[in-house]
């Protein structure tokens, strides 16, 4: 009860504390049960998830014993025949492909969300929203096969142009040079971006629509343009929820298996170029898990999953700090 009272009180001016308390007193059983139910469900969620992480950790133990922590993270060798396993190329591959996906998906999602909530005429909002959400319903194997059979050949035609233009830029050019195969880190990043677009865009749209109309309307009344409303009203007001949506997308990008596997090229050798094949943690797990026969091999694959969870953890902590500094920034409404 303590936390609930604290939460309510923090939102209430002292003047209406009395009636609220009285109201709660009147329907104590229902209120009590509802609260306990919520607490229970939250505890179930927490416990299940902790148990899942613990189970993953337990299954990783054999590999942890053999390869250690740093040894596993640093090693570039992944050789099932000689039972030598290391995560380094896959960690890099996961981070790079997800980073590309976020760089592409976040701005596009923001554009889609503002377009739906502010610009689009009323009759078209619903169809566009539904269409964007449909992208989330495409099974990931379909993304994979589409990426392999349709997107990669098309992208291969574009790659000579990327080579000639982006590849010529001083400094970052090396990232964009390579044979026009249509598969690789960049292709995987683009397919991932399309996959996570609906997650980020739908949540942004919902919170933009949910932003109190008087906030937006007063800004429009002052002569603000749509862009200014989006930039100065919507985004600051919904900052935490927008970050939440972005995290939903990032989580999906980091953990996606099937779609990435088909287009990333699956090479354990690291390359500087984004046009060259690479591999990500989930893609290796998806590729090798079902056929892995030795205990150490299976354990090493699960250990990779644990590393992925650790990566998410680090990203989370960074985000908490980032959000903290945002909250302290002047002009924050929440």
């Amino acid at each position: 009860m303590d936390s609930s009272e604290a939460a309510v009180e923090s939102k209430l001016p002292p003047a209406i504390e009395e009636p609220a308390a009285a109201g709660r007193g009147l329907s104590l059983p229902a209120d009590f049960l509802f609260h306990k139910l919520a607490v229970f469900m939250a505890a179930v969620v927490g416990a299940t998830l902790v148990a899942a992480v613990a189970a993953i950790g337990y299954d990783s133990l054999p590999a942890i014993k053999v390869f250690g922590v740093l040894g596993f993270l640093e090693s570039r060798r992944w050789d099932p025949v000689s039972q030598q396993f290391g995560a380094y190329p896959f960690i890099v591959g996961t981070l790079v492909s997800s980073a590309i996906a976020m760089l592409l998906a976040v701005p596009v999602s923001f554009g889609v969300a503002v377009f739906i909530s502010e610009l689009a005429p009323g009759w078209i909002k619903q169809p566009i929203s539904a269409a964007i959400e449909m992208l989330a319903a495409v099974p990931s194997i379909v993304y994979g096969l589409w990426g392999l059979l349709v997107f990669a050949p098309a992208f291969a035609n574009l790659e000579p142009w990327i080579n000639d233009h982006l590849g010529a830029i001083w400094g970052v050019g090396a990232l964009f040079r390579g044979p026009p195969m249509g598969i690789g880190m960049l292709a995987a990043g683009i397919v991932l971006a399309i996959m996570i677009l609906p997650y980020i865009a739908s949540i942004m749209r919902d919170v933009f629509v949910a932003t109190p109309a008087r906030l937006k309307e007063s800004a429009y009344a002052m002569g603000a343009t749509t862009w200014e409303v989006a930039r100065r009203i919507l985004l600051p007001y919904t900052r935490t929820a927008v970050t939440g949506g972005i995290f939903l997308g990032l989580g999906r990008a980091l953990g996606e298996t099937m779609a990435v596997t088909f287009v990333i090229g699956n090479s354990n050798n690291l390359s500087r170029s984004l046009l060259m094949p690479g591999a990500s943690i989930p893609s290796v797990i998806a590729n090798e898990f079902t056929e892995a026969t030795s205990k150490l091999y299976v354990s090493s694959l699960i250990y990779l999953g644990l590393v992925l969870i650790a990566i998410t953890l680090v990203v989370q902590i960074l985000a908490v700090f980032l959000l903290g500094s945002l909250r302290r920034a002047p002009g924050g409404t929440r």
Partner: protein, 282 residues
């Protein structure tokens, strides 16, 4: 002054066009992918898909009845576990937990689970259900899917409830409404569109997941509605058929994907329409 106004207008036009372009990009890829599934799957688009079971290789013919029914059952199980748990947990976070340390911890673990590879969720469910029961079962598949859904529902419910203005709650409390009524009648209602989006997205997500089902519901080439036995399901069928050498299996995989996407769209549109008619009534 004029120049500043012109500049603001110019920025706005550029930004608006970019937003329009972004939307077009999203729609373009959706159309492209849908077109691909149709192009490769059109040969298998046949009423038999709904009335016959999956054919053996080399038999020719089409059928997905067992997989459609199985997937519906799995989704129903996942929804009936995932929605109440996710909704209540999200509600606790937003309405009761607030910024307490405990709530912070639950949010933290929840966010981490968002990116756990789905195959490991399948392994976890295998360990807690299939192994003790001694056989694969539909019910364990539903549980695995619900574990995948819950973090998404918790995250979205939490965010959406927090966006509901404090005035609504305060007004209700001031009128003497108990907290549980404030939550169910006021804040849930105010945030229902967003909460529904979370549920729909999580449903869309699980509708295409192969990995968690492989070690739980398995799959079944026969028609079965027994919750204690392996059950046919669309994602595993799509995966197995798409990767097979046989043309009719490959075509069916694409057709199945198309139907699955359209089905999810249908659910999405229907539930939003229901929601809107609900708004009008109240």
């Amino acid at each position: 002054m004029i120049s500043l106004y012109a500049r603001r207008r110019a920025v706005n036009i550029v930004a608006s066009s970019l937003m329009f372009a972004a939307t077009c990009v999203g729609l373009f890829f959706l159309a492209w992918i849908l077109w691909t599934t149709l192009e490769f799957g059109i040969a298998a688009m046949h009423w038999d898909l709904f009335t016959k079971d999956t054919p053996a290789p080399g038999d020719g013919g089409y059928g997905l009845r067992n997989a459609f029914v199985g997937s519906l059952i799995l989704m129903a199980i996942a929804l009936s576990i995932g929605v109440p748990v996710g909704l209540m947990a999200g509600t606790w976070l937003a309405e009761y937990g607030g910024r307490s340390r405990m709530a912070g911890l639950v949010r933290f673990v929840n966010d981490i689970m968002l990116s756990a590879p789905s195959i490991e969720i399948g392994l976890f469910t295998y360990a807690i259900m299939v192994d003790p029961m001694g056989h694969f079962s539909a019910i364990s598949g539903g549980v695995a899917l619900s574990i995948l859904m819950i973090p998404i529902i918790v995250r979205t419910t939490d965010e959406m409830l927090k966006l509901v203005g404090g005035e609504l709650r305060e007004a209700a409390i001031a009128l003497g409404a108990p907290m549980w009524q404030v939550v169910t009648r006021i804040t849930w209602k105010a945030a229902r569109a967003g909460i529904l989006t979370g549920i729909l997205i999580s449903l869309a997500r699980i509708s295409g997941e192969t990995a968690p089902l492989l070690f739980t519901a398995l799959n079944n080439q026969f028609y079965s509605t027994d919750l204690r036995r392996p059950i046919a399901n669309l994602p595993v069928v799509i995966f197995q058929f798409a990767m097979s050498p046989y043309a009719n299996w490959q075509q069916m995989a694409w057709a199945a994907a198309f139907i699955a996407i359209v089905f999810i769209l249908g659910i999405s549109v229907c539930s939003r329409l229901l929601l809107r008619s609900g708004v009008k009534r109240t």
